[in-house]
């Protein structure tokens, strides 16, 4: 178990985060955007757990639990917005929601 080093775990987190971020930059589907945010949150959680495992402390896992709670809250609100989005804009393209442009 000890042979996994901290930076490998952190690099995994960074890669996952980067993929999620790339998806966020590219995809226009609101649901996928939400999923990308989930990926990034999860990657952040992974970094917390890895850092906690470095010191053998529970704090990292505790932080992951808070990330989990936040993700739950985010999904609830995000999906509610997606439903209204679909009703009012007849689609899921986030680029359609540019009425607040300057």
């Amino acid at each position: 178990m000890a042979s996994v080093s901290l930076e490998h775990a952190l690099i995994l987190a960074a890669i996952l985060f980067a993929i999620g971020f790339a998806g966020l930059l590219t995809r226009r589907n609101l649901i996928v955007v939400l999923a990308c945010i989930e990926i990034m949150l999860n990657a952040a959680g992974l970094a917390f757990v890895a850092a906690g495992a470095r010191w053998g402390q529970a704090d990292g896992q505790v932080m992951f639990l808070f990330v989990l709670a936040m993700a739950g809250a985010e999904v609830a609100v995000g999906l509610a917005i997606a439903i209204r989005f679909r009703q009012s804009l007849k689609g899921l393209d986030v680029d359609d929601a540019d009425r607040m442009r300057g």
């Binding site: 490998h8 590219t26 992974l46 495992a53 809250a73 999906l79 439903i83 689609g91």
Partner: protein
């Protein structure tokens, strides 16, 4: 355990890549479930079995289920925007590549081994309800707020009802109706 970590990591990365590239919403979400499952295995290899279980139960089991449910129930697949051309990936890929390179460079400056000890459910719980208890309360409030907000945003019928009751209150105020219930709002100016 080490080999398991790398296998799971590879699966996670691959599945996540598929999440952001698939056009079929349900397929993408299923790959996300796979990715989360792989991350759960990673957690287990990092000595965090409790969080690994929660990752599956809450993330894969509940949160992603909610996603899938919403997509299926509202047939969101049909509302998906058109496919992006592959050229759209170039810019983000470069940006993210630079970011990743920086992070990896920063991370590999020095190597740190893991403690290697398993941190079980008891230790996590004790930390959670010990020094972090205030944060737990805050998290519960966040969830409550999210619940209220989601209900409010998603329920359109309710909104019309509220508008109607405000309208009725106005009518009462201007003497065109009767206050059928106590607690009718009286406006500032009339006091």
């Amino acid at each position: 355990m080490t080999i398991l970590f790398y296998i799971a990591a590879a699966v996670a990365v691959l599945a996540t890549l598929l999440v952001v590239t698939r056009r079929n919403l349900v397929h993408a979400l299923l790959y996300l479930v796979v990715s989360l499952f792989a991350v759960a295995v990673v957690f287990y290899t990092l000595g965090a079995p409790f969080v690994a279980a929660l990752e599956v139960i809450v993330y894969a089991g509940a949160i992603m289920m909610l996603f899938v449910f919403a997509v299926m129930l509202l047939n969101l697949q049909a509302a998906s925007p058109p496919r992006v051309p592959w050229t759209a990936w170039v810019g983000p890929a470069v940006l993210v590549g630079v970011l990743l390179a920086e992070v990896i460079y920063a991370l590999t400056i020095e190597t740190q081994p893991l403690a290697g000890a398993e941190v079980g459910a008891t230790a996590v719980s004790e930390a959670l309800y010990g020094p972090y208890v205030l944060a737990v309360e805050l998290a519960s409030m966040l969830l409550l707020a999210a619940l209220v907000a989601a209900t409010h945003v998603a329920a359109r019928a309710r909104e019309d009802q509220t508008a109607a009751s405000v309208e009725r209150g106005r009518a009462v105020l201007h003497g065109q109706g009767t206050a059928s219930e106590p607690g009718v709002i009286v406006e500032e100016g009339d006091a």
